[in-house]
């Protein structure tokens, strides 16, 4: 399947955690533990610490999130403008796929 080019498509197994983390950060800047709790609450997915920081490092290296000054050794992260537009595009594509899938399921 040909995919439209996006910076998330090169993340391999970290692609789905990246979408979850970006979605969590849209609401407000959060540190690692708060991201894990929010993702658990919203998506029911537990992000392990290794996966979380491997994904954060990738997102940060691509300029999609940025670290804020640490508070008590906990550093909050904030989504950037590039991260917002990338997430918007990704979620719109997912929405289109979900809509089409549900419509076809209804015909079964």
């Amino acid at each position: 399947m040909q995919r439209s080019p996006s910076e998330l498509s090169g993340l391999g197994r970290f692609e789905e955690p990246a979408v979850l983390i970006l979605t969590s950060l849209v609401e407000e800047p959060r540190h690692g533990y708060a991201i894990v709790k929010d993702v658990e609450q919203v998506a029911g997915v537990h992000l392990g610490p290794g996966t979380l920081y491997a994904t954060l490092a990738r997102l940060e290296a691509r300029g999609l999130v940025e670290g804020l000054p640490s508070k008590d050794r906990r550093r909050p992260y904030r989504i950037t403008g590039a991260g917002l537009s990338l997430l918007r595009g990704r979620l719109e594509r997912m929405e289109a796929i979900a809509r089409t899938g549900l419509r076809r399921l209804a015909q079964v």
Binding site: H31, P49, G50, A54, A61, G63, T80, G81
Partner: protein
């Protein structure tokens, strides 16, 4: 479980270690799944190091690295030539000054090795000690073990000395994780920053 953070590379720990440690403390007791996840994360951090610096300047780094390798190879070749020439010099005559001369020779080669390795991650006292140790093991002086070898093995001794130097010279100083830590006390906005404006030239191309 936090000891698993030690498996991450040093650069990674400098950047993320404190906050990962704080997160693990806050999360309480971790299960085996989290331990495996940390192990996979550590492996990934070693195999695929991430930083803005590495992503955007990889080609420049590779070029610089190649230049460094070529430079270090030339340097080692020059050192081998000096070494071979120095070994041809007549040894000081036996006497009270001979021992001091041998010690001075070891220290001199130690200092030369320290100069060769000054851009590596090793601190200079360690490089000096390494140079002296290499000289004691592989040197041709009166106090060196290398002097016990038969004369036809001398070139191999010098080559082994140079190879050890070459290996040590590859241990580059770790780079800092750049551009990710805002200055202390910097004003923080809860809203995401907008994208930086694109150059006018790029806009024109896109419009046409």
């Amino acid at each position: 479980m936090r000891f698993l953070l030690r498996l991450y590379p040093r650069e990674w720990r400098c950047r993320y270690g404190a906050e990962m440690d704080a997160m693990l403390r806050q999360g309480g007791r971790l299960g085996p799944r989290d331990a495996i996840d940390l192990l996979r994360g550590a492996l990934d951090a070693r195999l695929h190091p991430q930083s803005r610096h590495r992503l955007h300047r990889r080609s420049r780094l590779v070029r610089r690295q190649r230049r460094f390798d070529v430079r270090s190879l030339f340097g080692i070749a020059a050192l081998v030539a000096v070494r071979l020439a120095a070994d041809r010099l007549p040894a000081p005559a036996a006497g009270p000054g001979a021992f001091a001369a041998s010690v001075a020779e070891i220290a001199l080669w130690g200092a030369i090795v320290a100069l060769v390795l000054r851009r590596t991650r090793f601190p200079w006292p360690l490089t000096l000690a390494t140079g002296c140790a290499l000289e004691l093991l592989l040197g041709g002086g009166r106090l060196s073990l290398g002097s016990l070898l038969p004369s036809f093995l001398e070139p191999f001794r010098t080559i082994a000395w140079a190879a050890a130097l070459l290996v040590l010279a590859q241990a580059r100083r770790p780079g800092r994780w750049p551009g990710t830590e805002p200055p202390a006390g910097a004003p923080v906005s809860a809203r995401p920053r907008p994208d930086p404006p694109q150059p006018l030239e790029a806009r024109g191309r896109r419009a046409s």
